[in-house]
């Protein structure tokens, strides 16, 4: 079973899917993300329906600054890349490299999150309070929910790193790292949509 696997003799090629527990986690995670997609779609729909409703408050053109959003996108996209590298290292049974890549992922994620906190603070400062308009409420809700997902993902990966810092890759923890990285990619994909729909399309006047 999943306990007592001797890593020195080499793990199977796909350690995350070689036990039934791992297979279950893999599928369960995909189904969960399917549901999350629909939830985000609902918030996207809400934003698209309400973004014109600025009710005399600040408008997107006055607020959004693409350089900051570009920086955030870079942070998150790179963190997605490092988490892929982490999983590749896992499949090569290189625990040290995997640990390092996931650590970098967390740091980049924190960078993203920091920017987002600054962004919200700034908008609030220039008059876009949460209750100022339907646009404000729906913007903060959609982007903030994504931010909350980032925070949860950071907590998740950090917990795994702390729990397994000196333990090496096993058949029991490989699925856990794999699920966390799937979740992280999902967050990244959602951000790509936020970047296009919320920032680019709204600024481009589409």
């Amino acid at each position: 079973m999943s306990d007592h696997v001797d890593v020195s003799n080499g793990l199977p090629a796909n350690p995350e899917k070689s036990t039934i527990e791992g297979k279950n986690k893999f599928l369960g995670m995909w189904v969960f993300l399917g549901g999350e997609t629909i939830m985000f779609a609902t918030f996207f729909g809400t934003f698209l329906g309400l973004r014109e409703g600025t009710a005399g408050g600040p408008t997107p053109d006055e607020l959004f600054s693409l350089p900051l959003v570009f920086l955030m996108t870079m942070f998150l996209l790179t963190s997605s890349l490092t988490s892929v590298l982490g999983i590749i290292s896992m499949k090569k049974n290189n625990f040290k490299a995997m640990r390092m890549y996931f650590l970098v992922t967390v740091l980049l994620g924190l960078g993203f999150f920091g920017c987002e906190v600054y962004e919200f603070w700034h908008y609030n400062h220039v008059g876009l309070g949460y209750s100022v308009s339907a646009f404000a409420s729906s913007f903060y809700t959609l982007v903030g929910l994504h931010g909350a997902h980032v925070l949860f993902g950071l907590g998740w990966i950090t917990t795994l790193l702390v729990r397994y810092w000196g333990k090496g890759i096993t058949l029991a923890n490989a699925p856990k790292f794999y699920s966390a990285s799937l979740y992280w990619h999902f967050i990244d994909v959602v951000w790509v949509f936020i970047f296009t729909v919320v920032y680019l399309l709204t600024l481009g006047g589409a």
């Binding site: 369960g28 939830m39 308009s133 646009f135 809700t141 795994l160 729990r163 856990k176």
Partner: protein, 624 residues
């Protein structure tokens, strides 16, 4: 080491055992008990509603209480009674029917139950803090926003948010279980129809409960944090809620009815002593219904004024659902055709399901004609329509399942005489209550009014309807009596297959050992148990040697995590309270830490334990 854990588990007290169990059979019973309690609670509310409407200009209760009662009746029945009852059967039966030892995620299974339960508790707390929600189970804005509704709606938004999350993770667990945990030879197209409908309903939950979660979040943000989504003056839009709610709401009705279809598809072949007619068509129809159920939500909004083109498109889409549904009806009829029919209580419920459900379907097609819906909408005609489907369909389906699986669950049958009394009371009471509501609706009685003037030709019909409600109440009393009576008096069952049935759950011993199957069975056909009885040696062929059996450990963490969510949710509601004794922030923090703290604790690995071979042999000898 493993043995030590196994024996240590035995010594725990009964209460602790139930609080920490991750066994799908025990969780099934917890679901059934909790669902029944909520069912009785909401049923009593229904009786109060019918007392109020029994005579014109009644002052039995105020309009406010009436609104609270109809809101809670609908909300509880759908989210906290029928859903858990269905989950109870799915939990008990699906792993057995696919030949598995447990579900894919036993821990998540327990977590799902406790979160649902605490969410229901949170909603019910509303009675003690300024009154229950009162904007209808559909919670239409602006009625339900901070401007017009009291604190009850906060409980609605957060209670359903919490319990909905439990439902969601349980559904994910069922999907993974059905896809990954099937015994060797149990291909998808050999699965019993109950597993199929359970799978499809779970998929619907994943795609329908998530928009609901989003909608409830918007409502919560509106009420607690001044969100402006629904305020037209601030750029908001009040139709938005109706869309989100019904994108969830219409699939929800199929989430409830599909598993009931599944139960009927098990009970009808068992007591017709024939295989299910048109198995493949049944599977196909289930999938088509699920797909279409996402395409029709606007039929709840025909009168909102979206426009004739949209209305026509959704009217046509709605009508097409009648096609796959019709396929199912005919397949049940053909299953019975020429069979050796046994009309015990289970079969009576299943057989009566068919015509009652057809009536509900016909009124559904009537409602789907958008122009005529202006006449029916928001009248008692709609109330009659959905009760024909929900009681005539789902409740009768659940009762059929209860009488059918009861011996496997509890080791004795329910009494047949009391069962038949219950059936006839319920059947007659149901038609008495609801048939006449079609006519009331057609002659213009609106729904959701707490009283009406006499002399409009409504008086007698309302009286009849209320009398019918009491007859139904009597039926439920007989059911409860039956459960108690049978627990003491009914003959104990030791055979594995008291009904001479067809599917794998009847191949297990009664009572079922905690590991279900000592050896995972090898499935060789559709209706595998029947196949082995006719073509094999009368028992399942094993797919593995007899060996130590790996089992998951129980855990108190699901309970604690759910309690954490409950406290968190309650803290959120306190934000709107006038004089909270403790600052809401503190309560929220406690709940938050409990929820995520237990999550971190859970990341500690737990590999379960093994039941050693000798122990398995001993148990097999005792029950076999």
């Amino acid at each position: 080491m493993a043995t030590a854990t196994a024996t240590a588990n035995k010594k725990k007290s009964v209460v602790w055992d139930w609080l920490t169990t991750v066994d799908h059979k025990k969780l099934a019973i917890l679901y059934l008990v909790a669902g029944t309690l909520f069912f009785v609670k909401a049923g009593l509310m229904a009786l109060f509603i019918r007392i109020q409407l029994m005579v014109p200009e009644n002052d039995f209760m105020t309009g406010q209480v009436f609104n609270e009662l109809i809101t809670m009746h609908g909300t509880i029945m759908l989210f906290l009674a029928v859903t858990p009852l269905i989950f109870g059967f799915m939990n008990f039966v699906i792993p057995l029917q696919i030949g598995a030892r447990d579900v894919a995620f036993p821990f998540i299974n327990a977590l799902g139950f406790w979160i649902f339960f605490f969410g229901g508790l949170l909603l019910s707390m509303s009675w003690f803090f300024g009154g229950a929600p009162d904007a209808g189970w559909t919670a239409y804005v602006p009625l339900s926003t901070r401007e017009y509704a009291g604190s009850g709606m906060d409980f609605y938004a957060l209670g359903l948010q919490v319990s909905g999350f439990g439902t969601l993770i349980s559904a994910i667990n069922f999907i993974v279980t059905i896809i990954n945990m099937r015994a060797p030879g149990m291909t998808m197209m050999r699965m019993p129809l109950f597993c199929w409908t359970g799978l499809v309903a779970s998929i619907l939950i994943v795609f329908a409960f998530t928009p609901l979660a989003a909608g409830l979040a918007l409502l919560m943000l509106d009420r607690l944090f001044m969100g402006q989504f629904f305020t037209p003056d601030m750029g908001g839009n009040s139709i938005l809620w109706a869309h989100i709610f019904w994108i969830f709401g219409h699939p929800e009705v199929y989430i409830l009815v599909l598993p009931a279809f599944g139960i009927i598809s098990e009970v009808v072949p068992a007591f017709s002593h024939k295989r299910l007619f048109g198995y493949t068509a049944m599977v196909f129809a289930t999938i088509v219904i699920a797909f279409l159920s996402f395409m029709v939500w606007v039929h709840h909004m025909f009168t909102i004024g979206i426009g004739p083109i949209t209305n026509s498109v959704f009217a046509l889409a709605t009508m097409t659902i009648a096609v796959p549904t019709g396929i199912k009806i005919f397949n049940w009829l053909f299953t019975m055709w020429g069979g050796k029919l046994v009309f015990n209580t289970a079969m009576l419920c299943a057989a009566s399901f068919v015509p009652t459900f057809v009536l509900g379907g016909i009124t559904g097609v009537m409602l789907s004609m958008a122009p005529v819906d202006y006449l029916y909408h928001d009248t008692y005609f709609v109330v009659a329509h959905f009760h024909y489907i929900i009681i005539g369909g789902i409740v009768f389906g659940l009762l059929a399942g209860l009488y059918y699986w009861y011996p496997k669950m509890f080791g004795h049958k329910l009494n047949e005489t009391l069962g038949k009394i219950m059936f006839w009371l319920l059947y007659i009471g149901f038609h008495l209550t609801f048939f006449i509501q079609h006519i009331l609706g057609l002659i213009g009685m609106p729904r959701r009014v707490y009283t009406y003037l006499g002399g409009q030709g409504w008086d007698t019909m309302n009286l009849v309807s209320s009398v019918g409600a009491f007859v139904m109440g009597a039926a439920i009393v007989v059911l409860v009596l039956n459960i108690v009576y049978s627990a003491f008096k009914s003959e104990r069952i030791t055979v594995s297959d008291p009904w001479n049935a067809r599917t794998l759950e009847w191949a297990t011993h009664t009572p079922i050992p905690e590991y279900n199957f000592a050896q995972t069975p090898q499935v060789r056909s559709l209706d595998p148990w029947f196949y082995e009885k006719v073509h094999g040696e009368g028992k399942m062929q094993p797919a593995e040697p007899l060996q130590d059996i790996h089992m998951p450990n129980g855990s108190i963490l699901p309970f604690l995590m759910s309690l954490g969510l409950f406290i968190w949710g309650f803290g959120m509601i306190m934000i709107n309270m006038d004089n909270p004794i403790v600052p809401p922030g503190v309560v929220i923090a406690i709940g938050f830490i409990m929820t995520f703290g237990t999550m971190v604790l859970h990341s500690k690995e737990d590999h379960g334990y093994h039941i050693p071979l000798e122990e398995v042999k001993k148990i097999e000898k005792e029950v076999g």
